[in-house]
Symmetry: C2
Subunit: 181 residues, 2 copies
DNA sequence: CGCAGATGATTAACATGTTAATGGTCTGCC
DNA sequence: GGCAGACCATTAACATGTTAATCATCTGCG
């Protein structure tokens, strides 16, 4: 490598990129779960949805998207498929006809019951490797980052999940200069 | 919420999922950069590639993929476009005709020069908000996770990047039970 | 030398991420 | 009551993630 390490360069080296490190960490962790999920025909996202729904009776799409970090547009494609497979049910809210309420169907509960144990086992293995204390440190640090960067102003009103779907603030990237495509 | 907090439930609540927290953190951080990148017509990935290439004279695809955390298959689609736009050049390695060597074209260097300053400014703002010390703690913790979970055996030989592309270990998810699609 | 197996890039096929546009529904306000 | 603007879900269009298959090249070994 042609570049020294310290705080010298005009731009910190690529390796010291926070998004990159977060991505690497996530990929390495997910690598432990993916084979298991795929063995059950589930993508990461589908499992997040099943898992989120399993914790409650039902959820509207906005909440589901917020909890799973899945964009509404993506949900609109994923949910119909899962419904066709009999894993979940969708209905329109009576009070607000715009909203779609989603709930896990028996078959979805069963799938969760089938997948969860091994999933927990994998998580337990990861906990063993990293160590409970250090893992707690990881959560603390991540919560910290999330809390600090969530909206310049304090958000987090009652019940609101902080994670925020994809880019609820990034929006409006400007039609902009497309480098002449 | 119908579930208590402690270590009680049959499965830890969704919020305490390491991959989820890593994803949330990453999304929140990226949200700060995306508008800027999009204003220059760049996707996250394209910027990672430009940035990685700017640090060196040239790289073969494998290395580039490893450093940017982009799957070779994705690179095969992204690179031709960037080449068409005159941002980079590709050539076949003389020593090994299988390998493709990529390097930044003048126009790519210029793009980097245009984008980097504001990008660094955004990073500086994030550093201010989180605080230098806490940010160092974040890196330390993430490096720790990455190192610990990188292959059960210690990797990280000379020069090797640890991050590992997408799933270099997750592979072979079994053709498997597709839930009868 | 020559071949079998390993390796690197590409491509295809499908799933999701991302943005913008569309259409139905609701809400506040006149 | 009725309308304008906000809100939610869906869809389209494009970019990327992900896996498997394919093709070319290379390497080790007989």
């Amino acid at each position: 490598m042609t570049r020294a390490r310290g705080r010298a360069g005009p731009m910190r080296p690529f390796e010291r990129s926070l998004p990159m490190q977060l991505m690497r960490a996530r990929e390495i962790v997910m690598a432990r779960f993916r084979p298991h999920l795929h063995a059950h025909g589930l993508t990461d996202q589908q499992w997040r949805i099943v898992r989120a729904l399993n914790e409650v009776a039902e959820l509207d799409m906005m909440e589901l998207g917020a909890r799973c970090c899945i964009h509404p547009a993506s949900l609109s494609r994923i949910l119909p498929r899962l419904e066709d497979e009999g894993l979940l049910r969708r209905r329109t809210s009576r009070e607000d006809q715009r909203r779609v309420i989603v709930s896990l169907a028996p078959r979805g509960r069963q799938l969760f019951a089938d997948v969860a144990p091994e999933s927990e086992a994998i998580y337990a293995a990861i906990t063993r490797e990293i160590g409970t204390e250090r893992l707690e440190a990881v959560y603390a640090v991540l919560d910290d980052v999330i809390r600090t960067l969530s909206g310049t102003s304090p958000q987090r009103e009652a019940g609101k999940i902080t994670g925020v779907p994809k880019n609820f603030a990034a929006k409006r990237a400007m039609p902009s200069a497309k480098r002449g495509r």
